[in-house]
């Protein structure tokens, strides 16, 4: 019997192939974070001192929200769609392990996210004079935050896809959650200037912490002054993300279904 990992890699390859065949989807997915940066950077770009601009803060935060967009909104939506169009039902008839299916999805999310971040950060460097970190420590930090963020939000996307009744409702529910979280988590607003009630709501969910972690990895330490607590709080970032990852895994196991009412 072929191994779970072998089939998972093969699924990942197929997911990438499938994604790349829709040019419109490819172009808009890849350019979305860069376009967001153009908008926000075009509106607010105060100088914050010592080579740090507000647009750099936005770039780091948008990097986090881009992960939520690809893993939560796109991945969750695609699973809901594949439940409705019979993909999952067909796979259920084969000896493909469930885990391989999820592996394929996460591989696609990783590939898309890396390209998106490279494009967006490249734009930030070229257009907004952002200085990317030059030491291994910061990149290492970016690496674990990236992996933990993708895992956490992918699991939440899978769980949400199981809770939605149909692909159509899943798409709108996830878009609304994503957009609102962007505000309360300080992605579209300077983190320190969010009204306390909104900040408290944002602090419950993992986007705020992922964005804070990304800022700590991509920005110089003087940017800490922009944070609500004046510090990166990396320990708390890791704790909240891990907590939501576990919650996502449990929810995922509880809500995953191979079929919807419509493909009965």
């Amino acid at each position: 019997m072929p191994g779970t990992v072998t089939i998972g890699l093969s699924r990942g390859l197929m997911e990438i192939r499938d994604f790349s065949r829709d040019i419109g989807q490819v172009m808009f997915t890849f350019s979305f974070p860069a376009l967001l940066l153009l908008m926000l950077g075009g509106i607010y770009d105060q100088h914050l001192g010592d080579g740090l601009n507000l647009s750099h803060v936005f770039a780091a935060s948008i990097a986090a929200s881009a992960i939520v967009s690809t893993s939560f909104v796109n991945l969750g939506g695609s699973i809901a769609a594949e439940r409705d169009d019979g993909t999952l039902k067909r796979l259920r008839t084969t000896p493909m392990p469930k885990v391989s299916y999820f592996m394929g999805k996460i591989i696609l999310v990783l590939v898309i996210s890396v390209v998106e971040l490279a494009l967006m950060l490249g734009l930030a460097v070229l257009l907004y004079d952002m200085k990317l970190p030059t030491d291994a420590g910061h990149w290492l930090r970016l690496g674990w935050l990236f992996l933990l963020g993708v895992t956490c939000w992918s699991l939440l996307g899978m769980a949400a896809s199981g809770l939605a009744r149909s692909a159509r409702s899943a798409a709108i529910i996830m878009s609304v959650i994503y957009t609102l979280l962007g505000f309360v988590s300080g992605v579209y607003i300077v983190p320190g200037s969010i009204p306390p009630v909104m900040a408290d709501i944002g602090a419950v969910f993992p986007l705020k912490w992922l964005a804070q972690g990304f800022r700590s990895a991509l920005l110089p330490d003087l940017a800490q002054a922009q944070e609500a607590t004046g510090s990166w709080e990396l320990g708390r970032v890791a704790l909240v993300l891990l907590g939501w990852t576990v919650a996502g895994l449990v929810l995922c196991m509880m809500t995953f279904r191979w079929r919807s009412a419509r493909t009965r």
């Binding site: 019997m1 093969s10 192939r17 065949r21 019979g86 008839t93 000896p95």
Partner: protein, 277 residues
């Protein structure tokens, strides 16, 4: 029980308040082709889904290749091929990519190119599945159902949307698979299909198995009455020759408007369905 592929006893299933299966009993022997006939909504698809490990049942005993499909794992799924109705997935991949990818799920798959040839899609192998016609798509479904070299193959209305030529070709493929020893359970609306392919036929109506047997046995069970009609009358009889001889004597030679007709499987089937309702 080594010669039994499927054994079903008292299978029941409800969706909400609607009871779909009322206690289905059925046995399928290894190597045989069994056709399940029945009107829309009779519970054919529901029964096949339960047997194929796609959905839970409410009651009854089910054993498929010696395993309860509700608890079946990967090894069992590798031995069972399933072609269900209407999927709209896989749109962006080509036929060849799709079949090759699915082959990778199985321990001992057939050669993808041979399977594509067998379902008659070789000239469309490089086309995207989403661009195929409905009948061609259906052949992709069949290809994916047999790529794993299954011992047991479930086919839920496999030839819906086929033109007559494609249907003939499909029948040849099924005979080939059957000749290799594959056990086949297919549901169909087409009585001709059942007659052409099946060793035995099971008629399902309103969630129970009405009758099981060879086509000949079903005919006999329904009463082998032959319909004799002529200009001045009509009669159903078990001894049509005697009746025609009598009529010939009566008319002094040629019987005007004589028609002698043995019931087709369709007549037998329709009579059964009518009885049930």
């Amino acid at each position: 029980m080594s010669d039994t592929a499927i054994r079903v006893e008292g299978l029941t299933k409800r969706f909400g308040d609607v009871k779909v299966l009322h206690g289905v009993d059925l046995t399928v022997h290894k190597g045989e082709t069994l056709a399940v006939l029945g009107p829309n909504g009779a519970g054919k698809t529901t029964a096949v889904e339960i047997l194929a490990g796609l959905g839970p049942r409410d009651g009854g005993e089910v054993s498929v290749l010696g395993v309860d499909p509700a608890k079946a794992g990967r090894a069992w799924r590798a031995r069972v091929g399933v072609v269900m109705q209407s999927a709209s997935d896989l749109a962006t991949l080509t036929v060849a990519e799709t079949v090759r990818h699915f082959a990778g799920y199985y321990p001992d798959p057939r050669d993808p190119a041979e399977v594509i040839e067998a379902v008659g899609l070789t000239e469309h192998a490089r086309r995207r599945v989403g661009k195929l016609s409905g009948g061609q798509r259906r052949r992709v479904d069949v290809a994916l159902g047999i790529i794993g070299r299954p011992e047991l193959l479930f086919l839920d209305e496999p030839t819906t949307g086929f033109d007559p030529e494609a249907r003939q070709r499909f029948w040849e493929l099924i005979r080939l698979l059957s000749g290799e020893g594959t056990t086949i359970l297919l549901t169909t609306h087409y009585l001709g299909e059942a007659e052409a392919l099946a060793d035995r036929v099971a008629v399902i109506a309103s969630g129970v198995v009405e009758a099981v047997g060879t086509v000949g046995e079903l005919r006999a069970a329904a009463g082998d009455l032959v319909e004799v009609t002529w200009r001045d009358g009509a009669e159903r009889t078990e001894e049509p020759t005697a009746l025609v001889t009598k009529l010939a004597a009566h008319y002094g030679g040629e019987v005007p408007g004589l028609n002698v007709r043995r019931p087709s499987l369709e007549d037998v089937y329709l009579a059964m369905i009518k009885e049930q309702n």
